[in-house]
Every structure is written in structure tokens, then in C-alpha cells.
């Protein structure tokens, strides 16, 4: 069936190509769609051919078909788990109502469902964590970057620290962050779980540097003519930053933010695997430990999903940049 849809698509493509001969623009569009499509097909063929020849202790390496099958299984598991949860809450409700009838003074308690988080729960956890970590990092890094770009003294003071901490692997931070979070974040009614904070702060520590450095470079490279305009107008420091510095360094700030988010996403998966914090990393690790014959295919689904999400996050940042940037004609890639 898959084969059939594929050939249908290529026939459509072919028809399009023929009807548009001579039309340069449509030709370019067809090429832009056709070439990635060909690339994808070649990749899938190579993958399935290679996978057949790799035998692991958990069975054959999964090819595209097995991975597709597992992805549908994961979707089904998610809906089953949701139904279970709903059923659980319904039962609780019924029980509480029944007890209320007998004893009007009874105060009903709702116990949360404690089922295993599904693949989609883990995706959501990871996304949420990376966004929070990234936001904290950006809120810290952009102002410090602007300061470093504006003042050579501040840059000289902060630069050695940046250079030392920038190459540190996030996983080296992880034990420290874990211990500090458990020591400092002590409440009876925690708003966030400790594992969430640990992951988010680890992401923050790695997201800081690209944004900081790129912002500093962007700010220090503002055209001296624009700075002179600001001086002649006697703009105060705040106006100078908001009316001159920020608009002209937006492209560099966003380059930094996109690098940061990309790094943050990679770091998060690793941190979740290592620290067993909920998220996609934990899903991968659990499947690996589980060691069933489906595990490798399920991990492969996770790998693809991680890749697609990373790509989408970057695209979203690009869209935000397009929205914020004053230069709508600039080619952004």
C-alpha cells in the first residue's frame, strides 16, 4: 500500500513537471520539492537495506517498517493510558459520591492517577523543560551580552569567565545542580518537581554562552555612525539601548538564541538519560533497559521525534526572528 502511494506521488510530480515546462518559477518549486523527496527515498532504502544486515542481542536492527509500526503502537498506548486515567477518575468520583450519600460530612479526596507516563507525556515534559531552561538563560544572557558589548571594561572582566565555562560539558554540571537543587529547594508544597528544576537549570547553564557571546559581538559591532547619531542626539543610556543597540543587534542576538536552543535541546536529552529525570531521554533509557525485541524500534522513533522537534524549535525561532526583525527582506536561514 505504501508503495502505491509513493508511485502516485511521483506520477503527480511528473505531471506537474511536464505541464510546467518553460515556467521557470514552478520548475524551481518542483525542484525544491522533488530533490528533498528523492533524498528521503534514497535514505529510507539504504536504511532498510543496512538494517537487515545488522543483528543485535535485541534482534534485528529496526528498519523503516518496524519503526513505523512502533510509532503507531506508541500512539495507541498513549490513548489507552488516557482512557485508563479517565476511568480511574470516574471510579474515584463514583466512590466519593457514594460515600457522600452515606456521610454528608465526608470530605472527598481526589488522588492523582499514578500510571506510567506515555511517550507523548515525555515529549511534553521535555519541551516544557527546555523552554523554561532556555527562557531563564535568555533573560540572563541578553542583558549581560549587551553590557559586554557596550562596555569594553565589562567585557574584559566577564570574558575570562565566559571562556572557561563555555566549553564545560553540561553533564559535568549535572551532579552539582542536582545536589544544589535538593539542598536549596526545600518546601512542603513544591510547585515544581526537583527533577524538573535540575534538568531546566542544566539546560540554562549551557544555553547561556552562545546567546551571551553573540549578543556581545552584535552590540559591539554597531556602526559607529549610528552611535554618533545617538551621541549627537544625546540619547540617554536606556534610549540608546532600546532605540539604537537592540534593533541593530537583533540578527546577532537571534543567531545566539537559535544556537542556544539547539544546544539546550541536545543537552536536555542527555541530562534526562543520565539523571533519570522524566522526559524523552528517560524514555530512551527505559527502553534500552527494558531490552525487549521492540525496544530498538521504539528508541528509533524517539530519535526521529527528537530530531523533528529540534528542527521545529529552530523554525519557530526563525519565525519569531522574522516577526521581530525590522528587515523583512533579509534572507534568514
Amino acid at each position: 500500500m505504501k508503495e502505491a502511494t509513493m508511485s502516485k506521488v511521483s506520477v503527480l510530480e511528473l505531471k506537474k513537471t511536464i505541464s510546467n515546462i518553460g515556467n521557470e518559477k514552478s520548475k524551481a518549486i518542483v525542484m525544491a520539492m522533488l530533490l528533498p523527496f528523492i533524498g528521503l527515498i534514497v535514505f529510507l532504502l539504504l536504511w532498510s537495506a543496512t538494517a537487515k544486515n545488522i543483528d543485535t542481542s535485541l534482534g534485528q536492527f529496526p528498519g523503516p517498517a518496524q519503526v513505523y509500526e512502533q510509532s503507531t503502537t506508541l500512539v495507541n498506548e498513549h490513548f489507552k493510558e488516557r482512557e485508563k486515567a479517565e476511568a480511574f477518575y470516574e471510579r474515584q468520583q463514583e466512590r466519593n459520591e457514594a460515600r457522600m450519600k452515606v456521610d454528608p460530612n465526608f470530605e472527598p479526596k481526589i488522588r492523582p492517577y499514578t500510571g506510567k507516563p506515555t511517550f507523548f507525556d515525555q515529549i511534553w515534559t521535555s519541551l516544557y523543560t527546555v523552554m523554561i531552561g532556555f527562557l531563564i538563560a535568555s533573560v540572563i544572557a541578553v542583558p549581560i551580552g549587551i553590557l559586554c558589548g557596550l562596555s569594553e571594561k565589562a567585557y574584559a572582566a566577564i570574558n575570562p569567565l565566559i571562556q572557561i565555562f563555555k566549553p564545560v560539558s553540561p553533564l559535568a554540571w549535572l551532579p552539582l545542580v542536582t545536589m544544589v537543587v535538593s539542598a536549596v529547594y526545600v518546601t512542603d508544597d513544591p510547585m515544581f518537581s526537583k527533577s524538573f528544576l535540575t534538568s531546566a537549570f542544566t539546560v540554562t547553564l549551557c544555553c547561556l554562552w552562545p546567546t551571551l557571546i553573540n549578543t556581545a559581538v552584535g552590540v559591539s559591532n554597531i556602526s559607529s555612525d549610528l552611535v554618533n547619531v545617538s551621541r549627537v542626539l544625546r540619547l540617554n543610556k536606556l534610549d540608546h539601548v532600546f532605540k539604537i543597540v537592540l534593533p541593530s543587534s537583533i540578527p546577532m542576538i537571534f543567531t545566539g538564541l537559535r544556537l542556544s536552543l539547539g544546544i539546550g535541546w541536545m543537552v536536555l536529552i542527555a541530562a534526562e538519560m543520565l539523571a533519570q529525570n522524566p522526559g524523552l531521554g528517560k524514555f530512551v533509557w527505559d527502553e534500552f533497559q527494558n531490552g525487549s525485541s521492540d525496544s530498538l524500534a521504539r528508541i528509533m522513533v524517539a530519535v526521529l521525534v527528537i530530531g523533528v522537534i529540534g528542527f521545529l524549535l529552530d523554525r519557530i525561532m526563525l519565525m519569531v526572528q522574522k516577526f521581530v526583525s525590522w528587515d523583512k527582506n533579509a534572507v534568514l536561514r
Binding site: N228, V229, V232, L233, K243
Partner: protein
């Protein structure tokens, strides 16, 4: 017409040194210049002779090492809107429209002194002065080089400066556009009577626009070489002046200064002769 004894802008023994790894480099020495209110003065000289440095010192963007600048008997030691600058490459903020670029200056200078409506009218008035009303809402990358420079002039005029400083304002424009802008500038100067200091490379431009031409010697340690007073009736007509003997005399004066007295590049023939002579001496 213009009272040259009136002290409006006074440069006294202005000199500046820039630190370099090989020790301080003296770019300007003993620049003395008195400019009357409403006067149009051009600074002319070869590249690298420190014309822009003089302008930047008057603007307050550079600090003189020796001597100083007085504007209405007050020392100039920082940039400010009363000495508005028209930069060579327009320096408009590329993310703002022509209107917003002028508005930024107006809001900054007249904050609390004008109502919102007055500010709006003032911005529009200045755009009208440079004939840019039709493109007020276009951004710099959507208009031509000449139009950008017009907006740059409008922004500077909108600050109601005591002195208008122009750093080769038309240097990057083609000859026709430049002529248009020169005419506009003469018109505006006639109407508003601003004091203007303009840097230029262009002898015709200097003679056409100026009341006085300040010719600078070559650096290092450049200074004022000669000052030429241009006594031509205003308003001046570019075409009529082309055949005017007085005009041509002034042109000739400036050219003589630039290409004989302050010749920067040796003509190839003499250079060759010199090296041949040297070669013979060695032999």
C-alpha cells in the same frame, strides 16, 4: 551682509594627537578659525588632511588635545543637537521610516517644549523643506541615495541647530543628484540662515555654496593654509556662474592651492626623472 567680526563659533589653536603604537600622532595643529552667524564655510583639502577631524571636534565627537572650540562663548566638550551633523553616509536608522528618523530627533530635542501636534507639524515641515514629503513613510532601504541624504539633512535641520555640520554630505552621490541637492541646500540656507560648516572634495561645490573656503594643508600636523572669501551675489545660479570670470577666478585659486601649493601626488614624469637622477648618482 555677514558681520565677520561677530564671534559665533571660534576655534582657537585647536590641535589633536592620536595615540599609536609608535607614539602620539599629531593630526592637527594650531587650527584657528572664526565663523560668523549665518556664514557658510567649506573646508577643503586632500584626503587624510584632517578635515573630518576638525568637524568632529566642533561636533564634540572628538576632544581636542590642545586649544578649544567656543560656540556663543560656551566651550564645546561633548556632542549635542545644537551642533547637528549630516554624516557622509546618511546614518539613518535603517529600521525607521524617513518620518520616524526625523521624529526621533524632534522628540529628543523638543521633549516638553512642543505638543504632540506641534512635533508632528515640525517633522512634516522639515521633510517638506528637503522635498521628501512624498516618501515620508518609506524606510531608508526603499529610497535612493540622494533621498536618504535629504532625510539626513531634514533630521539635522529639525534639531534647529546653531551650527549645521556636514561631512562630505554629497560625496557618495552621482553628479546630477549632487547638483540637485546643492541647489536644495542653497535654498534652505537662504531661507533659514543657518551657520554651516561643510567638508568637501569638490572645488565647484565649495565655490558655489560657500561664503568662505578654508583650505587645509596636508597632514600630519595639518592646519589652515589659506582662507578664500567668495564674494558672489546670492542667490547664485549654477548656469550663470559657469561663465562668470569672478567665479572662475575663485575656482582657479582653490585649484592652485590644492594642486600646486599642497600637491600630494608627484606627477609620474617628475617622479621618473628623480629616480633616474638618483640611479645615476649611485652609479
Amino acid at each position: 551682509m555677514i558681520d565677520l567680526d561677530a564671534k559665533h563659533l571660534e576655534l582657537t589653536k585647536v590641535g589633536i594627537e592620536f595615540p599609536t603604537p609608535k607614539g602620539p600622532f599629531c593630526a592637527l595643529r594650531d587650527v584657528d578659525l572664526k565663523i560668523a552667524k549665518g556664514e557658510f564655510v567649506s573646508l577643503i583639502g586632500h584626503s587624510g588632511c584632517g578635515k573630518s577631524t576638525v568637524l568632529n571636534i566642533v561636533a564634540g565627537l572628538y576632544q581636542a588635545t590642545t586649544g578649544g572650540v567656543l560656540l556663543d562663548n560656551k566651550e564645546v566638550n561633548e556632542p549635542g543637537p545644537e551642533r547637528a551633523v549630516v554624516f557622509q553616509n546618511h546614518s539613518l536608522l535603517p529600521w525607521l521610516s524617513a518620518y520616524e528618523n526625523v521624529e526621533l530627533a524632534v522628540k529628543q530635542v523638543f521633549k516638553g517644549k512642543m505638543s504632540k501636534q506641534e512635533m508632528k507639524d515640525w517633522v512634516n515641515h522639515n521633510l517638506e523643506l528637503v522635498h521628501m514629503t512624498h516618501a515620508a513613510h518609506k524606510r531608508p532601504d526603499e529610497i535612493s541615495g540622494g533621498m536618504k541624504q535629504r532625510v539626513g539633512i531634514a533630521r539635522a535641520l529639525a534639531m534647529q541647530p546653531k551650527v549645521l555640520l556636514m561631512d562630505e554630505p554629497f560625496g557618495a552621490l552621482d553628479a546630477l543628484t549632487r547638483a540637485h541637492l546643492q541647489d536644495s541646500l542653497m535654498e534652505i540656507h537662504q531661507e533659514l540662515g543657518n551657520t554651516v560648516i561643510m567638508i568637501t572634495h569638490d572645488v565647484d561645490e565649495a565655490v558655489l555654496l560657500s561664503d568662505r573656503i578654508v583650505m587645509m594643508t596636508n597632514g600630519p600636523a595639518a592646519t589652515v593654509g589659506e582662507i578664500l572669501k567668495i564674494d558672489l551675489e546670492r542667490p547664485r545660479e549654477r548656469l550663470a556662474l559657469a561663465d562668470n570670470p569672478q567665479y572662475n577666478h575663485y575656482r582657479h585659486e582653490v585649484l592652485t592651492f590644492l594642486y600646486e601649493k599642497q600637491r600630494k601626488v608627484e606627477p609620474v614624469a617628475t617622479k621618473k626623472a628623480n629616480t633616474e637622477k638618483k640611479g645615476k648618482e649611485v652609479a
